[in-house]
């Protein structure tokens, strides 16, 4: 689910952040704070969602360029903890909502996980209250298992997509999600954790 990504960044440190850290001798803390402001909780295309700054391997520079309003520029090499599940990974999440297209699952810190109808346990249909129900047939007996909201569900990652940022957005459309994960639950051991 998580992996380390090494990046090199030209970081501009504004003077008001430099002053306390230079005096204390804790320039690294100041740089770390600036890195977190820049990367934390942001999605980087093809790399994933940045969870945390793992460590700062080196930083050099500190030159002040003309016309930069006094910011010192450091070339920082650091490692970031990125969240990007690989295809085929099995993850446990909570069902957040369901609509006519399928389920939406959330992990607490990440909610853009969808399980479309074609990837759900077959056969299933949507009940009157909107909840998806799995019709399971064994020896001419039929069992109904419902996929209720707030239930823990185990799913396998089918794909991770990074749709391009839309230039224009109409007011009614759902908020843009920079990283979308599609899961499927049609298999042994997948689906609600309580089933197995």
């Amino acid at each position: 689910m998580f992996y380390l990504s090494q990046v090199e960044q030209n970081l501009k440190m504004p003077p008001h952040l430099l002053k306390p850290s230079l005096l204390d001798g804790e320039l690294e803390k100041g740089i770390r704070g600036e890195l977190e402001k820049r990367f934390l909780d942001k999605v980087i295309t093809n790399l994933g969602l940045c969870i945390s700054v793992y460590d700062i391997q080196s930083f050099e520079g500190g030159f002040i360029f003309p016309g930069d309003d006094g910011c010192a520029t450091y070339k920082v090499r650091c490692r970031l903890v990125m969240f990007q599940p690989f295809v085929g990974e099995v993850i446990v999440g909570k069902i957040e909502s369901c609509d006519e297209f399928g389920l939406q699952v959330s992990l607490g810190f990440f909610s853009d996980i969808r399980i479309p109808e074609r990837f759900m346990v077959q056969p299933c249909h949507r009940g009157e209250d909107g909840i998806w129900v799995w019709q399971f047939k064994v020896d001419n007996e039929e069992f109904q298992y419902s996929l209720d909201i707030d239930e823990e569900i185990r799913f396998r990652v089918a794909s991770v997509k990074y749709p391009p940022t839309p230039v224009e957005q109409s007011e009614n459309s759902k908020p843009f999600s920079p990283m979308e994960i599609t899961g499927y639950i049609n298999g042994d051991g997948l689906g609600l954790v309580s089933w197995w």
Binding site: E8, S52, F63, F109
Partner: protein, 175 residues
């Protein structure tokens, strides 16, 4: 013109900035360079341990200061996962013993450590194309097929042994 030049030089020396040639200046305007996109996979346990060492707690109010709220959310999620019960030694032990099973790849080992399946269907879910792999062996000697299923059972026992479930521990406490 000369006055402008002199004032320009004065500006440089006043700032104690280093006078750089234009070619060097151009280098510093890239956004960022990805040196190594993947510098190593992390198990859920390692991220959990890292956040815990940075000072994250399950209590959302207690996190302010050392750890940001989004890191707290990740920590909250990982506390509810099997990673909560794991230790560095148990994960290392599992990976060492799992080397004996040649049919699982390192990604599948990662899957197993992160989700610690306790029943056979859950183990099937973590191993890609499990059915097809066993079926392949069927075409060869029937004994080899048996071996595969036995190996899966052994793997399940190994997982149960190294990563005990909290529910089982609670049962032991109540008895």
């Amino acid at each position: 013109m000369i006055y402008a030049l002199i004032s320009h030089i004065c500006y440089f020396t006043f700032n104690m900035g280093i006078i750089l040639r234009t070619s060097e200046l151009k280098k510093y305007y890239l956004v960022f360079v990805r040196e190594k996109a993947n510098a190593g996979n992390l198990t859920n346990f390692e991220v959990f341990d890292f956040l815990r060492s940075r000072g994250a707690t399950s209590d959302p109010m207690g996190c302010i200061g050392s750890v940001s709220p989004s890191e707290c959310k990740v920590f909250g999620y990982l506390s509810g996962s099997p990673a909560y019960m794991q230790t560095r030694e148990s994960v290392n032990e599992f990976l060492r013993k799992a080397d004996n099973f040649k049919f699982i790849t390192s990604f599948e080992k990662l899957n197993i450590v992160n989700s610690t399946p306790t029943v056979m269907p859950a183990l099937y879910a973590t191993i890609k194309d499990c059915d097809k792999r066993i079926a392949k062996e069927e075409e060869q000697i029937a004994k080899e097929n048996q071996l595969e299923e036995d190996q899966l059972q052994e793997l399940l026992e190994l997982v149960k042994e190294i990563f005990p479930q909290p529910a089982e521990e609670q049962e032991e406490l109540s008895q």
